[in-house]
């Protein structure tokens, strides 16, 4: 006869409510691990998906995902000349926030190297890759846009032609993909008045310059936006992505490009490490501390519940001792209840979590490793939680029944 089950049958309502409560707590612990995994996945997903061998970025910066990186357009051509390089392409990445349909829309825009890259590699759930080199947009479904929908970015109107799934930036923002030129146009868009004022200021400075007086044709250049001025234009790429030939030596090519002195070069693994250390690490520590705290709280609550359940049946335990039940029977009953509470709580956590987590605004990824780790933790806190009840049960004497 299983005494643990018999006792639970008697206190089914309370046990069920406690199990649900513990389950909810464990679900949060589970969710914390899932949020961390989600952060990690989000942070490295794009790097994986892009699949470059080397990332060439502005010197002494940590790449476009960690901080602002600017490299000149000509860097692509320089990179292509390096022995062992199969291809080099521009990479433009920036995050914008606009108002759309009355709500704020935050997205990270990645420029595709048209016409080589039309976004065929993206995980489409609807629509198609880019067909035009202007005014077409592929967006992630997390942005909530629909196929054929148009939105104004800068001075132009863009049409959504494709929907992807799971494409989010390191910050968890949904991604949008357009051609490189369009992404630059969006990035460097300035209000007309600002452009006018800039031109006027430049023209004014030029009037007093000997160079412009001697070469009047240069003044025509002053009419262009700053980003298009060859001599003084702001470098407009975030990075250059290099793909190596199969036989190329990664370290050798990396050291060759690094010797240029104006860039830093990272491998894909290096970029991932930087992101994990720079962006995700603090979040990881924070989430880990919350997990520890919540686990301790769950253990305390479980211990209290088991202790209370034990107190409730202390008379029955004394009776069991009176009729000769060995300690292992009594301890087994308490331990089984504690393990059952933990086990069922875990099941509630998993069931509720898998239903609720997909609705969270950021990705919550439950990995087998984390689930197993939590199961082991739950096992141990279940055992620990039963100790107080077991201690109480061991103390009670059969004589207490008769004296009560």
């Amino acid at each position: 006869m299983n005494l643990a089950f018999k006792d639970i049958r008697k206190n089914l309502g309370r046990f069920a409510m406690t199990t649900i409560g513990i389950g909810m707590l464990l679900m949060i612990v589970m969710g914390m691990a899932g949020i961390y995994r989600g952060l990690l996945e989000d942070a490295t997903f794009l790097i994986h998906k892009i699949g470059a061998d080397l990332w060439v970025v502005q010197q002494d910066t940590r790449g476009p995902f960690a901080e602002l990186s600017r490299v000149p357009n000509s860097l692509v051509y320089r990179a292509q000349t390096v022995p062992g390089v199969a291809s080099a392409r521009e990479f433009v990445f920036h995050t914008i926030q606009r108002e759309h349909r009355g709500a704020l829309l935050r997205m990270s825009i990645l420029g595709l190297s048209w016409p080589e890259d039309k976004g065929e590699w993206l995980p489409f759930v609807a629509g198609r890759p880019l067909r035009e080199n202007h005014f077409e947009l592929i967006v992630d479904k997390s942005l909530g846009l629909e196929l054929g929908e148009t939105l104004r970015l800068g001075k132009d109107q863009y049409t959504v032609v494709g929907i992807t799934a799971g494409m989010v930036s390191t910050g968890g923002d949904g991604m949008a993909f357009t051609t490189l030129l369009d992404s630059q146009a969006i990035q460097f868009d300035s209000p007309a008045e600002a452009i006018r004022l800039e031109r006027a200021a430049r023209d004014n400075r030029g009037q007093g310059s000997e160079v412009f007086l001697q070469q009047p044709q240069l003044t025509q250049q002053l009419a262009l936006p700053a980003s298009q001025l060859p001599a003084i234009a702001t470098p407009s790429l975030s990075a250059v992505l290099v793909t190596l030939k199969p036989e190329a030596d990664l370290d050798h090519v990396q050291s060759l490009i690094e010797s240029w002195q104006d860039v830093s070069v990272y491998t894909t693994a290096g970029q991932e490490d930087l992101l994990v250390q720079g962006i995700v690490d603090k979040a990881r520590k924070q989430l880990f501390m919350f997990r520890v705290l919540l686990t301790i709280i769950a253990a305390i609550i479980m211990a209290l519940i088991i202790y209370t359940l034990t107190l409730d049946k202390i008379y029955a335990i004394a009776l069991l001792k009176l009729i000769g039940a060995p300690n292992r029977v009594i301890l087994g009953m308490i331990l089984q209840q504690s393990l059952l509470l933990g086990g069922l709580g875990y099941l509630v956590a998993y069931t509720a979590g898998t239903q609720l987590f997909p609705n969270f605004p950021r990705r919550v990824i439950l990995t087998n490793e984390d689930l197993l780790q939590l199961a082991i933790v739950v096992f141990f806190i279940s055992v620990l939680s039963s100790l107080m009840g077991i201690w109480k049960a061991l103390k009670v004497e059969p004589n207490d029944v008769l004296m009560s």
């Binding site: 006869m1 005494l3 018999k6 006792d7 049958r9 008697k10 206190n11 049946k313 008379y315 029955a316 009776l319 069991l320 001792k321 009176l322 009729i323 000769g324 039940a325 060995p326 029977v329 004497e397 059969p398 004589n399 029944v401 008769l402």
Partner: protein, 249 residues
């Protein structure tokens, strides 16, 4: 049966191999110094196998102390307890695994029903047998038989809280008899029963004593059933004296 007033300290062999219970110079003292209370002194009792003994006495006379000492629940301060010829308590020191010994050899019925509230009536009887190594199925069958014989078979699946006081007491009696105990200790087992059921329980105790050679000690105030006992003791201020000698032993 014999009563002695001598207190011995060294364990010796029991006086008869047919004794179910023998106590020698049992003494129980609670507290110490100014708060010292002598609950039982020089209690020497012998109960033969098959003998049914009544223990009478006013409240606070030490009956329960005596009963719990024999039941290996409340160790005496001094004195010895022999059960079935085996020295089980020498002073406060147990000479055996008392819990295992209780499980195998002693049945209890107390004034209050003392049932486990999260088990139903049958399970309360069944658990005593299962703890003794009897299979779940066999224990269930015997539990039902015992409950049937005590007139509560139709309440076998009832929660304890749904049974009347008398029904609970009968379930407790069934549990006490479940393992064919060699010693049956009962503290006012008929207090919650009508005279018919009370007599029925006493008859059952007699049957257990006769058929299984068990020694039965019953603390009772119920004078309606005194004729069912072979021997009657009275206890007052912790001292036991015999008031009815056995005739058929």
């Amino acid at each position: 049966m014999k009563i002695t007033a001598t207190q011995r300290t060294a364990p010796t062999q029991p006086s008869s191999s047919t004794l179910a219970i023998e106590t020698r110079g049992l003494r129980k003292v609670y507290g110490e110094g100014n708060t010292e209370v002598i609950a039982m002194q020089d209690a020497s009792v012998s109960v033969r196998q098959g003998e049914v003994v009544a223990l009478l006495g006013p409240s606070g006379s030490g009956k329960s102390t005596f009963l719990t000492a024999i039941g290996l629940i409340n160790p005496p301060t001094s004195g010895q307890i022999w059960i079935g010829g085996e020295l089980v308590m020498d002073g406060p020191r147990a000479q055996t695994d008392v819990r295992s010994f209780r499980r195998k050899h002693i049945g209890f019925v107390f004034q209050k029903s003392n049932l486990i509230d999260f088990l139903n009536a049958r399970e309360n009887v069944q658990i005593a047998m299962e703890l003794n190594g009897i299979s779940h199925r066999a224990a269930g069958i015997r539990a039902q038989e015992l409950l049937d014989s005590l007139g509560v078979g139709d309440r076998a699946n009832y929660e304890v809280s749904m049974l009347s006081g008398g029904q609970q007491q009968r379930v407790a009696v069934a549990r006490a008899l479940a393992n064919h105990p060699s010693v049956l200790l009962a503290d006012e087992p008929t207090a919650a029963l009508d005279s018919f059921r009370g007599r029925q329980v006493m008859e059952l105790f007699r049957d257990v004593a006769r058929q299984h050679g068990a020694g039965v000690i019953v603390v009772t105030h119920d004078h309606r059933t005194l004729d069912a006992f072979d021997t009657i003791y009275e206890m007052e201020d912790g001292i036991i004296r015999v008031s009815k000698q056995p005739t058929n032993f």
